[in-house]
């Protein structure tokens, strides 16, 4: 076996893949701070995975192209004892790589998603009034109560005293979603925000999102609330449009809703 040829294969393939991964643009619309975190983690994982992927590819290609035997079956090659260091080095390298990926983007990305320092990752979430809570710190500039039922979404704005069947948000403000369900488990997911949380009966879950650009469902299908947990007959169709507005337009919308 010629290690040099194998290494050349590996370097060439890695170069190609890293180039492709770093230029990868195939993300859906990104309309929130959380989307940027997720997409960054996604791209970073692609970069980290590239050399691993190409190493296996190179070995596979090299062995198929250069290590094919003659004969039916081929004469076995003379047995050479294994060098004991190889598995140890492999183990150490993969363990180090796994440890790094656990740290970044794993724990780092998780902390960024929650907007908390790394040291607080093991803490549990806010509030004595819920036994189980979910992702995100305690505060929000705007509270939206999300109620899922078979098969529709309802959004309440308790501070504004209004309710709607369409999710309308102001751009640039941290929204605290308080999510629950009236019947069975649903999941609150906006693809353009890259995050979701289950809507569970007898439980309130939390999700924090800061929209970073305006837009609407009419412009991009990614701006929709889509149920992501199988909930029976209407599951596929359980979606609501999302609109992200400039703050003043949002205030106007609130005022208009309040009059109705």
């Amino acid at each position: 076996m010629r290690v040099g040829v194998l290494a050349a294969w590996w370097l060439v393939l890695t170069g190609l893949l890293v180039w492709a991964a770093s230029r990868f643009q195939g993300f859906p619309l990104a309309a929130a701070r959380e989307a940027a975190v997720a997409d960054h983690a996604f791209r970073f994982l692609m970069l980290m995975a590239s050399p691993v992927f190409t190493l296996v590819m190179a070995a596979l290609l090299y062995s198929v192209l250069s290590r094919r035997g003659q004969g039916d079956p081929p004469e076995p090659p003379p047995y050479v004892p294994e060098h004991p260091a190889v598995p140890r080095v492999w183990f150490a390298l993969t363990a180090a790589l796994a440890a790094y990926v656990i740290y970044n983007p794993g724990l780092v990305g998780l902390a960024e998603m929650r907007e908390v320092p790394l040291s607080q990752l093991l803490g549990s979430s806010p509030g004595g009034r819920v036994r189980l809570a979910s992702l995100g710190g305690a505060e929000g500039d705007l509270v939206v109560r999300v109620r899922a039922s078979r098969w529709l979404w309802q959004f309440e704005y308790p501070e504004q005293g209004i309710a709607a069947r369409e999710l309308v948000l102001p751009v640039g403000r941290r929204v605290r979603f308080e999510v629950t369900a009236t019947d069975i488990v649903h999941s609150f997911w906006v693809p353009a925000f890259r995050t979701k949380i289950d809507a569970v009966p007898n439980l309130t879950t939390y999700l924090h999102v800061t929209p970073t650009r305006t837009g609407s469902f009419e412009e991009s299908v990614d701006l929709r609330v889509q149920c992501a947990e199988l909930c029976g007959v209407g599951h596929a169709l359980m979606a609501s449009p999302v609109r992200v507005l400039e703050p003043e337009k949002f205030d106007a919308w609130v005022a208009q809703q309040a009059r109705r």
Binding site: G26, P28, A41, F42, L45, A49, F53, V56, A59, L60, S63, R67, R68, Q70, D72, P73, P76, P77, Y79, E82, P87, W90, T94, A98, V101, I102, G106, L107, G109, L110, E112, M113, L121, L122, G123, S124, L132, A133, S134, L135, T182, I184, V185, P191, R194, K196, I197, D198, P201, N202, V221, D222, Q226, A228, L230, C231, G232, V233, H235, A236
Partner: protein
């Protein structure tokens, strides 16, 4: 009648059992003024029906009569096809029973997948109703899960493990037969659920949906619990067999790697399967006994189900994939004509996977509303599992690079396994990472990921193993040209089907939906067309499998000139496997070591027949 007698008797007893345990019991209770919900009627009927089936098919005659001090009865001995329709204790017959039954279910599940892809080919509803799609999707899921758990362990594990360790049979031959004969009622119940409204909660059966949907859910629960029992009994049987039935000299360090993988998977299955049974039984209790585990109106806590369920169901994927690792490495080492590289590290990796897999379950629950403190540790343990898995890759690649490759059909499928599982494994990292998983969870990205691991990983390894052991099992050779055609066709179609699904998932296509936004139309059209090609490729396999068994050229004892024990006896092996216990004297893979042997067979055995 000689062929179908036991099965007909089993069906008759099963029907009687169902009627007595279900409708008749319900009528009696109702006549006495009690209440007897239809769900309970279905559950009681199907349990008693299964008992009746087992009694009719042979357990009464060859087992239970002894408990009452009566002489045992058995059906007349038969070498022909009839023995495959009997309660037989020969592990080779049971292995073939498993293999053929679950290949049939694999094709059935595949046909259901074709239905789904037909519906998903274009946006809007064409072929199925919304509810019909959910039922087809659920049925596809649970059938394929059952296939993935049982086909490699129950089929090839049963057939090969006793042969590979030099035993005459499994440790508990009758328990082995029971494990198999428990599975036909499972299939019947799953299909019969369509008669009572089916069920639409997917194979995961998350409550509270599964506590309030159609009665078909009850049949699904009973079926899965019974299947779990079969899986537990099979696991115990493998553990005792491998621990205590090895031939003289077959030390733990000389076990073929496939045997080790079966051992590791059995270690998992005999414990964690109980958690699946428990979580589904809780759903059943909610339904039939009015309990409040998960039911929303009675203050239940649905999140608890997800913890218990995944405590089984994540290790379950290792019950599926670890034997596939073993089978693929087995094929790779024989067809690379060199000893398996880093054998001890792989064994350690299998056991490491077994250990780690019990502390990773909550990565399925990142978005479920579980306590926040669970995210970080579960993320870490999940990603740590890539380290032992990496050792499996090291072993495969080291063996390939040091060998002289013999590219026959089994080897081609084993190489495809490396490619497919690599993609499946790497995309798993994206699902283990919270920052990316919050978006990707419950999307087609996950669908693509687990089809790459289970279909691309396990089923491709299964195909490698089926082609590899085909001459041993059937005594005939398959058609090599058709085998290669099947390989290239299915490998290309598989990747064409599932690679685009990653893109669809990233772009907002959630899983288990009958309809999707029109923007996702073209990727779905492509996926559907590729899926039909993939489905069609299996017809080549089916043709090759059936026709070669009937008309293929006779196979020699050892067509691959392989070193392990099962190849040192005639194809197919005699009933008693080895005329006398073989003496194992060396490592399992002794290629390129002149004069070194794995085993010496007894005087009457003879390896070069």
């Amino acid at each position: 009648m000689r062929v179908t007698g036991p099965v007909l008797k089993g069906l008759l007893y099963g029907a009687v059992g169902y009627v007595l345990g279900g409708p008749v019991l319900a009528a009696v209770v109702r006549a006495a003024g009690g209440s007897f919900p239809f769900d309970l009627e279905l559950a009681a009927g199907s349990v008693l029906g299964t008992v009746g089936w087992l009694a009719g098919v042979g357990m009464w005659d060859v087992w239970a009569r002894g408990w009452f001090g009566l002489p045992l009865r058995s059906w007349p001995e038969d070498d022909g096809v009839a023995r495959y329709f009997r309660f037989t204790t020969d592990h080779k017959v049971i292995g073939i029973q498993y293999l053929v039954t679950f290949l049939g279910l694999l094709f059935l599940g595949g046909a259901l997948a074709m239905l789904m892809r037909w519906e998903l080919m274009r946006p809007g509803m064409q072929l199925l109703t919304l509810n019909g799609f959910n039922q087809v999707m659920s049925l596809h899921g649970i059938i394929m899960i059952a296939v993935a758990v049982a086909i490699l362990l129950g089929g090839l594990g049963n057939y090969c493990v006793p042969l590979m360790i030099g035993a005459h049979d499994m440790a508990f031959p009758r328990v082995n037969a029971l494990s198999y004969w428990l599975t036909p009622p499972v299939a019947v119940m799953l299909l019969a659920s369509l008669l009572v409204g089916g069920w639409d909660s997917g194979w995961t059966a998350y409550p509270p949906l599964s506590t309030v949907n159609a009665p078909g859910q009850v049949l699904m629960i009973v079926a899965v619990v019974i299947f779990g029992l079969s899986s537990i009994l099979g696991g115990i049987n493998f553990l005792v067999t491998i621990a205590r039935m090895r031939a003289p000299g077959m030390t733990w360090g000389r076990l073929p790697i496939f045997v080790w993988s079966v051992f590791a998977a059995s270690l998992l299955s005999f414990v964690v399967t109980q958690y699946l049974a428990a979580s589904l039984l809780m759903v059943l209790l909610d339904r039939v006994a009015g309990m409040s585990y998960f039911h929303f109106a009675r203050g239940g806590t649905p999140v608890v189900y997800q913890q218990l369920f995944w405590f089984y169901s994540h290790p379950a994927v290792y019950i599926m994939i670890v034997p596939a690792f073993g089978a693929a490495l087995e094929v790779i080492t024989h067809f690379a004509r060199t000893p398996l590289y880093a054998y001890r590290w792989v064994v350690g990796a299998f056991l490491g996977i077994v250990g780690l897999s019990t502390i990773v379950w909550a990565h399925h629950n990142f978005t479920s509303g579980m306590p926040d403190w669970m995210h970080a540790p579960m993320l870490a343990t999940t990603e740590a599992i890539s380290v032992p898995t990496g050792l499996v890759f090291l072993s495969a690649l080291g063996t390939l690079l040091r060998g002289r490759l013999w590219l026959r059909t089994p080897m081609l499928f084993a190489l495809a396994w490396v490619w497919n599982f690599l993609i499946g494994g790497i995309t798993g990292i994206f699902n283990a990472d919270v920052a990316t998983d919050l978006h990707l969870h419950d999307t087609y990205f996950v669908v693509a990921h687990f089809h790459y691991t289970i279909m691309g990983g396990e089923i491709f390894a299964l195909l490698a193993a089926v082609y590899y052991w085909y001459p041993k099992i059937t005594g005939r050779m398959y058609d090599e040209r058709l085998g290669r055609l099947h390989f290239w066709w299915s490998f290309l179609a598989f990747n064409a089907t599932f690679l685009p699904m990653f893109w669809a998932g990233l772009h907002g296509m959630n899983r288990r939906i009958a309809d999707y936004p029109a923007a996702l139309g073209s990727v779905n059209l492509w996926t559907s067309l590729a899926a039909f090609l993939l489905g069609a490729s299996f017809l080549v396999f089916l043709y090759n499998f059936v026709v070669s068994w009937v008309r293929g050229p006779r196979a020699e004892a050892n067509p691959w000139q392989a070193s392990t024990l099962e190849w040192q006896v005639p194809s197919p092996p005699p009933v008693e496997n080895f005329p006398a216990p073989p003496a194992v004297v060396g490592a399992p893979y002794v290629y390129g070591m002149p004069g070194v042997r794995h085993a010496v067979l007894g005087a009457a055995g003879g390896s070069e027949r």
